[in-house]
Symmetry: C2
Subunit: 158 residues, 2 copies
């Protein structure tokens, strides 16, 4: 393990501020996620990973390969197969073998699934507007622009 | 399930902007968390929940009851008992029965554990400064203040 010695002289004063910002950002994200999870469960008997899968499928009306769906949702850590099984069982999605290749299947939302997703997405948007309601229009734009760009300086390093 | 009809006329224009902000905030938080997880593993053979437990214990030099530790870390979803077992096994924490009550135990960091945590915390602070390095000082303060207050409008509703 290699680690620099603690040397406050070498540490820019802004580091503590950035650490505080990160902790607050993480708390805010977890808190909003927790509230979304609770409301999706209560009002739609659904979950966040299921919402994410439906959102991905909604944007792909021709359907998605299971493998692409898994890769796309890597970050949400959900069990895509289990989620799709449940969606198919609920009549919200259908699964069909791809032409000429029986090993992979294509998943798409049914009409019922699309309507159900739209209802959830509408509620989701209203909830977010409620949670972030205190943030003024100017700050929303400023923050959004900042968050769009600030990741570039470390991503892709390894 | 009760849900309002889709009616774009009733929806403030800022809702879409707020939704976009939330998605970017979530992505940024997940992306930073993923990078932290990877670096803690690589450089300290550790994990985020373990880091959180050590941080809580570091701030309580007299030790914490297992029950308080579990409650404190509820949000991180870690298995506190497993984490503490591992810390004790590594010599980073000790566990002792509370005086007069053999059913609950008090956990505290050892000197080795405190030194190890300080090394991790130092690296963690530098990493965050690196990730958020593109955000200017003024924006850091502005954002931090905003995130400190904006949760109050929905929390505690249920």
């Amino acid at each position: 393990m290699v680690s620099a010695p603690l040397d406050t002289l070498e540490r820019p004063a802004g580091n503590k501020e950035r650490l505080r910002l990160w902790i607050r950002l993480l708390r805010a994200a977890r808190s909003i996620e927790g509230e979304l999870r609770e409301r999706l469960r209560r009002e739609f008997n659904s979950t966040l990973p299921r919402f994410d899968v439906m959102a991905a499928l909604y944007r792909a009306p021709d359907g998605m390969l299971m493998s692409d769906l898994s890769r796309f949702l890597l970050v949400s850590n959900g069990n895509v197969t289990g989620i799709v099984d449940r969606l198919v069982g609920d009549g919200h999605a259908s699964r069909a073998a791809r032409e000429g290749d029986r090993r992979t299947s294509i998943v798409r939302l049914t009409d019922t699934g699309r309507a159900f997703f739209l209802e959830m997405a509408d509620a989701h948007e209203r909830w977010i507007a409620e949670f972030l309601g205190e943030v003024g229009e100017d700050d929303v734009k400023r923050l959004s622009t900042m968050l769009k760009t600030f990741r570039s300086n470390w991503e892709g390093e390894h």
